[in-house]
């Protein structure tokens, strides 16, 4: 093992996967280089409108992450960059980077867009990458409004200057910041890193290659990614669904599924997300325009994830989305109307022809071409589908040591799974680089905070933002006006407030004029407030003594046609800001010590993985298992190797303490400082720990009916799995061998191909004819898809065939959920001769007995005919239900369960392994059913997230949080009830008190407290009301009130209206 040297990590690919990995690492003591090929980070998620299954706005979730990573002191974003090579060993890599010129200095560019407006191309001409060709851009452009880094970029492919050298370069002249720089050249440089995370994502499948659907040929045939842009409020049509051919609103929209997926001519695997993204797109389209009638043409509807089934149900019932199980062979354009003609088979099997106004192709996720090139340069292998090759038992490890992979690069997956994998990869890196944690991160030193004396001394800085603000608003008069406001001792105009030289100047002014509050009137606080806060902190002020007024986005840019009114509004906004500033109070941030230990509940697969990951990262971990043994649920043949390895590793790990036959009796405390009582036959023990990981399981549901329990020949998949001999199990984990592509042996020799082989083992007991029934009991007690049972059935069917290829196996199913690469198993099973018969939800199969012969009757939904099978064995897939013990855990930990009994994560998309309550994390089957590789990733991710807390040593609490005034509290408990994060507790005095570390600063309690006993820092009632009053105060009154010199506190005198 080479020495572990560098506490820095390269994350390649700035999609949601790369961003999450970068944040996790940077938050846990590693310096991150985030390397992005394009001009901005965000990846595909930035282009989405809403996201399934909750259908919340993609940008609302992503944008805060973009800003956070963009501002993180331990993350350096390197855009327009690609990796040249990677030398060295884990812990000590040298990575060579090639960075293309942007031709814009991002430290100067303020994204004002003047260059764009003045480019010699009057019309936007070139297809915009971000708008997937539906919108256009110029040679100089800003990738998208929320881009990080938020700066213009020049595309040399389309810019006249680069093409012919003969352009007047209007852009250059227009830029007031001198940010454009056409002399920039390509840079080649080296980074020293300890590990690499590769997250280059995917490429949507090129719909042009599926020519029968006419994409690129017929104007009104779009792809899923394009339709996302059409739905997006910030997209090319401002969120109106309009036909490209004539700009009219379409009524009938057809969605065609599996375009380029599940197809031997294209991608063999299932793209895993398109069934759901289409469902989402159909609903959102309908929400945009009630006239729209969406129809979805599909083969199997793969709604297998948490909450997916619900969304589909809503789509059908509430939104009237029509689902038709019939694939379309071709799309024909009607020449006169540009409508599209589609032929399909209806429920009854008859052929129908129908015209649609718009067709959307659900293109799948293909491997990223750039990612493949990257893999070559990094020396990591790809699997037979062109995605990163990983091991089933370490789903984020590439084939090169020290190089980890994550997100859609490892196979088609949605955002939650991408985020899980990203955290898992970060956790793996943390474990690898644990010895050098914190060696490359910087903590900034700030001067000691000045204690503000009572009277406000406010400084106001009014920004020109070049001409962005000054071009509309008379900024000079705004500054003059500011000088007249109570409490203001300094006001000035600044050309660019955010420029480095001004920040320096600002600090000087603060010291010289002994300012104790600062107001900046410029652009949106969402981007730059943190920068200014940092600046005043450097000058010795508490960072909360700052207020930012937005006179650009919310004034000059939206009222440019009314300059006078805009100036008046700017003054009012400044007046409000100053009023709030007068009321601002310094807020303290306390440090809380973290107990550097973890408690993992559940000693199954997930628990062991989580505990080992934490242990490897150097944290003491208590692994608590209710039963006598660890990993007792790991029964199937294909995981025995893994189980043995895990048990060994757990046994010898110096940081792990295993408690079997143990349950938790009590958990108290909060993030960083939990205290729990463990109960075992040996007695009780109290432990201190900083985090909790819940890793409990889900069970195979006990079926009822189908002669289960009455006839020994009816069993469950799990029982079958146990009965099967361990050898040669194809497993869910082993990557299926590359099935001979397309070319079937044209003519297998007559005898060889299908001749019965020697009698298989176990055949005597299990029989020749076997019927498997999927989705048993799904309608009643378990109204969701359990995700794993279809794959399990396929796996077992293949094992059965391996033992005896002459077996006749029938799988009766509702939807075949062989998402992702499981599609290979499905195909292999069919190739092996398994007959798949679909039945409708309404007519489930019936199992009965006739003279001791089992009979299965099923209505083949495709043939619409009743079939009777005489099996020797019936195998049921009853699905998975969560551990009933979860309820008790949920009470102990005060964490929520959903209506099915699964735990509810903090945020299904962005915090999939966190509970809303800080410091508690979740993984395992009790979160949601999953396959072993999926659960391993989730367990690693939970461990990684937990390690962030533990690695800090200290937690900062305070700032914008709520606090209770004990004088006013009447102990009504409203806040206790209403706080969504369980931050309120009742203290010894019987009054409400807020746990600073738990409070997220939403202010819900403050608004609800009937006694007005709660105030939220930075948003105190006095501050808010001061703004309101200033806003509506008539000018004359205001001026009168302003004259007195000793600063008036907000008081009765000022009130009154004109």
């Amino acid at each position: 093992m080479s020495e572990i040297k560098h506490g820095s990590v390269a994350v390649v690919g700035g999609g949601i996967g790369g961003i999450q990995a970068a944040l996790d690492l940077a938050d846990s003591g590693f310096y991150v280089y985030l390397i992005e090929e394009g001009p901005a980070i965000g990846g595909r998620m930035a282009q989405l409108d809403k996201t399934f299954p909750t259908n919340d706005c993609a940008m609302c979730m992503l944008s805060p992450k973009l800003v956070e990573v963009g501002r993180h002191p331990n993350v350096q974003i390197i855009t327009l960059a690609s990796v040249e090579s990677l030398e060295g060993r884990p812990g000590n890599f040298q990575m060579t980077i090639r960075q293309r010129p942007r031709y814009v200095d991002i430290t100067r560019c303020i994204a004002c867009g003047r260059c764009i407006a003045s480019c010699v191309y009057q019309d936007t001409k070139f297809p915009s990458e971000f708008e997937v060709g539906l919108g256009k851009r110029k040679p100089v452009y800003i990738p998208f409004p929320q881009a990080v880094p938020l700066a213009a970029v020049v595309d040399p492919q389309t810019c006249i200057f680069f093409k012919s050298g003969r352009c007047p370069q209007n852009c250059l002249k227009a830029c007031e910041r001198g940010a454009l720089d056409f002399t920039q050249t390509e840079k080649l440089f080296m980074l020293e890193v300890g590990a690499v995370i590769v997250a280059p994502g995917f490429d949507p499948y090129d719909a042009r290659r599926v020519g029968e659907y006419g994409f690129g040929r017929y104007a009104n045939v779009l792809t899923g990614p394009q339709f996302e842009r059409l739905l997006s409020a910030s997209g090319p049509t401002s969120g109106k669904v309009l036909r490209p051919s004539d700009g009219k609103a379409p009524k009938k929209i057809a969605f065609i599924q599996c375009v380029g997926s599940r197809d031997l001519r294209h991608q063999r695997y299932c793209s895993a997300v398109c069934c759901m993204y289409t469902t989402k797109e159909a609903i959102v389209a309908k929400e945009h325009d009630h006239q729209i009638e969406p129809t979805i043409f599909y083969i199997d509807l793969r709604a297998y994830g948490k909450g997916f089934e619900n969304l589909v149900k809503r789509a059908r019932a509430e939104h009237g989305v029509r689902y038709i199980r019939s694939m379309v062979s071709q799309v024909t354009e009607i020449p006169e109307t540009k409508n599209l003609l589609i032929r399909y088979r209806d429920e009854s099997g008859s052929l129908q022809e129908e015209e649609f106004d718009l067709v959307v192709l659900a293109v799948g996720m293909g491997p990223s071409a750039k990612g493949q090139e990257l893999a070559r340069r990094l020396g990591i292998e790809l699997n037979e589908h062109g995605f990163a090759k990983t091991s089933a038992f370490n789903p984020v490890m590439s084939t090169r040591e020290g190089v980890f992979v994550t997100g859609a690069f490892t196979g088609p997956k949605d955002i939650p799974e991408t985020v899980v994998q990203a955290s898992a990869a970060a956790a793996a890196v943390e474990a690898l680089l644990a010895p050098v944690r914190g060696t490359r991160t910087h903590a900034k030193d700030y001067p000691e905070e000045l204690v503000p004396d009572g009277t406000p001394r406010i400084g106001v800085f009014v920004c020109h933002c070049g001409s962005n603000i000054a071009g509309v608003v008379d900024v000079k008069s705004v500054a003059e006006y500011a000088k007249t406001l109570p409490g203001v001792v300094h006001a000035e105009n600044v050309l660019y407030t955010c420029s480095q030289d001004n920040l320096k100047h600002m600090k000087e002014v603060i010291r010289e004029k002994r300012l104790n509050r600062v107001v900046v009137a410029s652009c949106t606080p969402r981007n730059l407030a943190a920068l200014f806060q940092d600046t005043i902190r450097e000058a010795g002020l508490n960072k909360f003594l700052f207020e930012m007024v937005n006179i650009r986005e919310q004034c000059s840019w939206v009222h440019s046609d009314q300059p006078e009114q805009a100036t008046e509004k700017a003054k009012r906004l400044v007046r409000m800001g100053v009023a709030k500033a007068r009321e601002l109070k310094p807020l303290s941030v306390q440090s809380v010590r973290v107990s550097p230990a973890a408690l993992v509940l559940g000693g199954g697969l997930s628990g062991m993985i989580a505990a080992l990951t934490l242990g490897d990262s150097g944290f003491e971990t208590h692994l608590v298992e209710r039963s006598a043994e660890l990993g007792s649920d790991l029964e199937s043949a294909d995981v025995q190797g893994l189980k043995a390895k895990l048990l060994d590793a757990v046994r010898v790990h110096p940081k792990l303490r295993v408690h079997t036959n143990t349950t938790v009796r009590e958990i108290s405390g909060f993030v960083g400082n939990f205290s729990s009582v463990l109960r075992s036959p040996q007695g009780e023990e109290r432990i201190q720990h900083g985090v909790v990981i819940v890793a409990t399981e889900a069970y195979e549901h006990k079926p009822s009916g189908y002669l289960y329990g009455e006839d020994a020949r009816v069993l469950t998949q799990r029982a079958l799995e146990k009965a099967l001999t361990p050898q040669a199990s194809p497993g869910l984990f082993t990557v299926p061998p590359a099935a001979a592509r397309c070319t079937v042996q044209a003519e297998p020799a007559e005898d060889e191909a299908h001749a019965p082989r020697a009698q298989g083992r176990g055949e005597g007991q299990l029989g020749k004819t076997i019927v498997m029934i999927q989705c048993v009991g799904r309608t009643e007690r378990r109204p969701y898809c359990s995700r794993i049972c279809c794959a399990e059935a396929l796996k077992n069917a293949l094992t059965l065939l391996e033992q005896d290829p002459d077996r006749q196996i029938y799988v009766l199913y509702r939807e075949m959920i062989s998402y992702g690469f499981f599609e290979d198993l499905y195909r292999r099973a069919r190739d092996g001769g398994v007959v798949f018969i679909r039945y409708d939800e309404q007519s489930p199969p019936v199992v009965c007995k006739e003279n001791d012969q089992l009979l299965v009757t099923v209505r083949d939904a495709h043939l619409r005919q009743e079939l009777v099978i005489k099996p020797d064995l019936v195998v049921l897939s009853p699905g998975v239900v969560p551990d009933p013990y979860n309820e008790e855990l949920s009470r102990l930990l005060k964490v929520p369960l959903d209506s099915h009994g699964f735990f509810v994560e903090a945020h299904i998309k962005l915090r999939p392994v966190d509970f809303a309550s800080h410091g508690i994390f979740l993984c395992g089957g009790s979160h949601a059913p999953g396959t072993v590789p999926e659960l391993i990733a989730k367990a690693q991710a939970a461990a990684g997230r937990a390690a962030i807390v533990l690695s800090r040593g200290q937690l900062e609490a305070g700032g914008i949080i709520a606090s209770v005034d004990p004088e006013k509290c009447t102990a009504c408990l409203t806040c206790l009830r209403e706080c969504p994060f369980g931050a309120v507790f009742i203290n010894e005095q019987g009054l409400a008190e807020i746990e600073a570390v738990k409070c997220q600063g939403c202010g819900i309690c403050a608004a609800d407290c009937p006694a007005k006993a709660i105030q939220l820092g930075q948003f105190e009632d006095a501050q808010e009301l001061a703004m309101l009053e200033e806003l509506f105060r008539p000018e004359q009154v205001a001026l009168k009130a302003l004259t007195p010199s000793p600063l008036p506190r907000r008081g009765e005198g000022e009130r009154g209206r004109g």
Binding site: P145, N550, I1004, L1025, L1028
Partner: protein, 146 residues
Amino acid sequence: MTNDEPKIVAFCCHYCAFAAADLAGVLRLKYPPNVHIIRLPCTGKLDALYLLKAFEAGADGVIVAGCLEGSCHFISGNLRAKKRVLVVKSLLPRLGIEPERLEFFNLSSAQGDRFAQIAREMTERIKSLSPMRGEESESKSGVDAL
């Protein structure tokens, strides 16, 4: 503030409506300058009192804008705010204020155009109502009257 333009305050959630207003700016969408934004960490922070105070202080209209349902950053702040707004709306007639002057909106951070549209629509709506309380004497009513 010009006299003919109604005075409107918009309480906006930091995560959605406030960001949408920013986007409206980036897209250079136009709306009347009489709409002023007060930023909240979440509309869940919106005290019913603020609404009454706003009218008392002289607002002609009040917008409360939170995240789309199910998308609240703090789980359910927007739902609570909506409830409070509905309660206040039902109280307004007793104060002689048309309930149309107060409205709750859901929008996402990507809906810059919707923000601008809301600003325009509220302005139009309020213009179409008869002017608020002509005499200042009445303005003492407000919260204390409840």
